[in-house]
């Protein structure tokens, strides 16, 4: 390219006149992906990351709680044949086993509900089906957790 073609004089009268100068600056054009006040608030959160982490952390705790529970209920001291109202009353007389069972209930229900949520998301293809299956799951989960918590806290060994 020669020096003449790139100079303002070579472009011609109309094109050569600049619309902007120091008193009339050109409008600022935002960078394409710049976040401004007008950008809609993102609905993305780290929920799935925390869900993933919860499955692993609760899983480690549940291995201890659930395998201990199975050992006590199904293996030690005659296995399942010893279980009855009197046996439950004996164990829940101790706050240690109340807290054990309460922690196990909450962690297992949330761990299981999150697992089933993943399964529903994977296999239910229609939006409506997926929505209602998850509503059913959440309803059953809240009901079960609250019922179990109520039973542990209001247990009365002298009910009769």
């Amino acid at each position: 390219m020669s020096a003449e073609t790139s100079s303002a004089a070579a472009i011609g009268e109309v094109e050569g006149v600049s619309l902007y100068d120091t008193d009339h600056p050109a409008p600022l054009i935002e960078a394409p992906r710049k976040r401004t006040k007008k950008t809609p608030k993102s609905t993305r959160t780290n929920f799935e990351l925390y869900g993933w982490l919860f499955m692993r952390l609760s899983g480690i705790v549940l291995v201890v709680l659930v395998l201990g529970h199975l050992l006590i209920q199904l293996v030690l001291d005659g296995g399942v044949s010893k279980i009855g109202f009197a046996f439950v009353a004996g164990r829940w007389a101790s706050p240690f086993w109340q807290i054990w069972d309460l922690t196990m209930l909450w962690l297992a229900m949330l761990h299981g509900a999150n697992g089933l949520r993943t399964v529903i998301n994977d296999y239910a293809q229609r939006d409506n089906t997926r929505f209602w299956l998850k509503m059913l799951l959440y309803t059953a989960t809240v009901f079960t957790v609250l019922l179990g918590t109520l039973v542990i806290f209001t247990f009365d060994p002298n009910i009769r």
Binding site: L67, L70, V75, F85, V88, A140, T144, L147, G148, I159
Partner: protein
């Protein structure tokens, strides 16, 4: 339904399938188990009556199946944690699965008498 999507992923895929199936089964049992335990708030008789069904030979076999599902889910869950957080985990995932299977088999043999012993005595006499 999507067609022709059988992913032949060997140990990795089948342990994933087994983890899902056992997880769903355990969750459904947990739901029932909280309901049956809630009967202690109704009356000792109502609770003992339902627990009596847990002591029948048929349900004892289901309990053995429940123990099988829980033990696999627990052991394979620890393997998944190792794959995710241990630097050598992904490379050793197959060896870890077979370790899980061996430990599971040993524990299942160990659970035979405690879980099914009373059912066997009831069926065949002591």
């Amino acid at each position: 339904m999507p067609a022709g999507t059988l992913y032949r992923g060997r140990e990795g895929m089948w342990s994933w399938v087994a983890h899902r199936v056992t997880g769903v089964l355990i969750f459904f049992f947990l739901f029932v188990h909280v309901l049956d335990t809630a009967l202690v708030r109704v009356s000792p008789e109502a609770y003992d009556k339902v627990v009596a069904t847990y002591k029948t030979p048929i349900v004892a076999c289901l309990e053995y199946g429940l123990v099988a599902a829980i033990l696999f889910h627990a052991l394979n869950g620890l393997r998944i944690i190792a794959v995710d957080f241990w630097s050598k985990g992904p490379r050793l995932q197959k060896q870890m699965l077979w370790t899980v299977v061996v430990i599971w088999l040993v524990l299942m043999v160990g659970a035979l008498y405690p879980v099914l012993g009373h059912a066997a005595r009831e069926l065949f006499g002591s």
